[in-house]
Symmetry: C2
Subunit: 341 residues, 2 copies
DNA sequence: ACGGGTTTATGAACCGGTTCAGCGACTTCC
DNA sequence: GGAAGTCGCTGAACCGGTTCATAAACCCGT
């Protein structure tokens, strides 16, 4: 019960291996009648291409990689990633590509995974997430010449094309919403300043809310989100609204505020950057900035496959803008109490 | 700037390709001196094996697959999965294996992904999660003869070896803890009865808490967790403690209880089956059953690689028990109020 | 000095596809 | 009717490793 190969098909259909290959790949060189006979034989034998053999001659792996450099602890809690992966997956499997996943320590480890994958010809390209300031990855990728797309770009060095969201405009919209409700003392709990998108948002926040608005940086974890919240709430004037850079920290901030004896949204309005089930789990439910990570992942994957198929030097190095996230207003934002602050 | 191949190494070291292959794989047939020369040449050229070529002759893919049939929505919220994957990943990359991930609709789609992966020789084996009652996957896997390990077994059909946790014993421990606190009216919010481990736990709950204890089944989502909670709280006598089959539902239940005007743990004690950051995010923090998904994943992956290396018919079909989860008591469980119920 | 055994190295086949030069047979055109 | 072109198909090389039969070189004891 050996796996059938094209040789078996050729024998059964009474043709050469080359003819079988042509027929199976829908290229000219065989008559319609012969093609049908070959396809019927392949079908009867239950033939499937051996990826290794195909990769070897085609010099393409039929797979793309995603290495993620975040502690599994944080990764797991953020629904964002799974949805992103799910979106990527959908796009890939539709075109017969597989997804290789690797969870690593940091961006340097990620860069070496990329190197290895490329050297071993395990993947045809990679997706990048979480660009850091001074990130080594774009440089490495350009050096080895592997196709790559940055989900969450744009890459300031321009080495890697990106699918990106206009965080600055989104942040402005959030701040305007809070201003519109009458809030004057805003605060922002950001992720690590080393992450490019985090830094962007922080800048945009300051630009929109004014240089005296309160800010705190964290590692995106619930723990630091809570600590940052406590710190901000001790300030005078006390902020009446906080924007959190992810959903997990917003939930943690909610708990922290409650423990400090503050009502949400009465004493404090809360906005989460990423929308997810988490934001609907809490009481009150959280106002959140909602983008569709599923479609975002799909867009990035599509862009990558495009790049892969174009081959090296195929142009199309530009960035693609993804739709602006939408602010979903729920229970956690309201006008500040007149006696608050 | 072509990628170096063993032919290049052979030329540089002045030996045959076969000698290079022997040297690089640490097998006998070359002298120590020649071996060193070859390794130096390989190093100088920056050689890495081409996985496709290696797979083709070795008839091994150097990768294992994980197809998950759960909606991305639920998957994302449960930290469990990412940690599990992270654990799997750690074990795999240590031994040079890659992980293929696929998110699919249901177990039937999963079975066809398995079929395709195996036919294409993309993977050497797969990991299974979420065994269903009457699950088609063990049958298919046995039919095609692909190595597989069930994370969360055991498989009642015995077709697939599993790494499993004694849920029944764990459930008994939880119920005893609640009994010990003085609770008499317990309830259990389980996952879908179609999931084997969920069914197991439900049975164990009934065995330990008595046939009249309240039970509700859900799809593991926060939404159904909340609905189930509201239903249980309308019962008379009202349960004073609820055991949730995952962390997400426990959090949702917490909100539902609060909205119903009940204090936790004063009026209602809450236990979550899976421990995660989520359980520490809430207020009060949740008492939870904690197993280490990271090490659990690692154990399952190790078992699979073992099976893969043993080759077909290599025996070792037995199940492996993983350590019993530990009950981490936090703020959400306390003795019932004497005037409660 | 010689037979037997071990160590070291080689050439060539092989894994399962893809691809291309080449070759009949058949059509087309003048 | 013969040159030119097209169509359908084949044989063989090729991708980059692994492996095995075989041979050359070396070691040993007698």
């Amino acid at each position: 019960m050996r796996r059938p190969t094209i040789a078996d098909i050729a024998r059964r259909a009474g043709v050469s291996q080359a003819a079988v290959s042509f027929a199976l790949n829908g290229r000219p060189g065989v008559s319609a009648a012969t093609r049908d006979r070959i396809l019927a034989a392949a079908d009867a034998l239950g033939w499937q291409p051996n990826t290794a053999a195909r990769s070897l001659s085609a010099a393409a792996a039929g797979a793309v990689g995603l290495a993620v450099a975040r502690p599994a602890r944080t990764l797991g809690v953020e629904p964002f990633f799974m949805q992103l992966i799910s979106g990527i997956q959908g796009e890939l499997s539709e075109r017969g590509y597989a997804l290789l996943l690797d969870l690593v320590e940091d961006v340097h480890a990620e860069a070496s995974v990329h190197r290895r994958w490329w050297a071993e010809r395990r993947v045809d390209g990679v997706l990048l997430v979480d660009l850091r300031t001074g990130d080594p990855r774009p440089r490495v990728l350009r050096e080895i010449g592997m196709p790559a797309v940055l989900a969450g770009g744009p890459d300031p060095t321009g080495a890697v094309p990106g699918v990106w969201v206009d965080d600055a405009r989104a942040m402005t919209a959030v701040v305007e919403h809070l201003h519109g409700l009458g809030h004057e003392h805003l605060a922002h709990v950001s992720g690590p300043p080393g992450m490019a998108h985090s830094a962007h948002r922080a800048e945009a926040f300051t630009a929109a809310a004014g240089p005296r608005a309160a800010r705190a940086a964290t590692d995106f974890s619930d723990a630091e989100g809570a600590v940052a919240t406590r710190g901000l709430l001790r300030r005078r004037p006390r902020p009446t609204a906080v924007v959190y850079d992810n959903d997990v920290m917003a939930v943690a901030g909610l708990s922290a505020a409650r423990q400090a004896g503050l009502a949400v949204p009465g004493d404090l309005s809360v906005v989460a950057w990423e929308d997810s089930a988490l934001c609907r789990l809490t009481h009150p439910t959280l106002t959140a900035l909602s983008r569709d990570p599923f479609r975002f992942g799909a867009a990035a994957a599509a862009r990558l496959l495009d790049l892969v198929r174009r081959g090296p030097g195929g142009g199309g190095a530009g960035d693609t803008e993804f739709e602006l996230p939408e602010l979903v207003v729920r229970e956690s934002t309201a006008p500040p109490r007149p006696n608050g602050g």
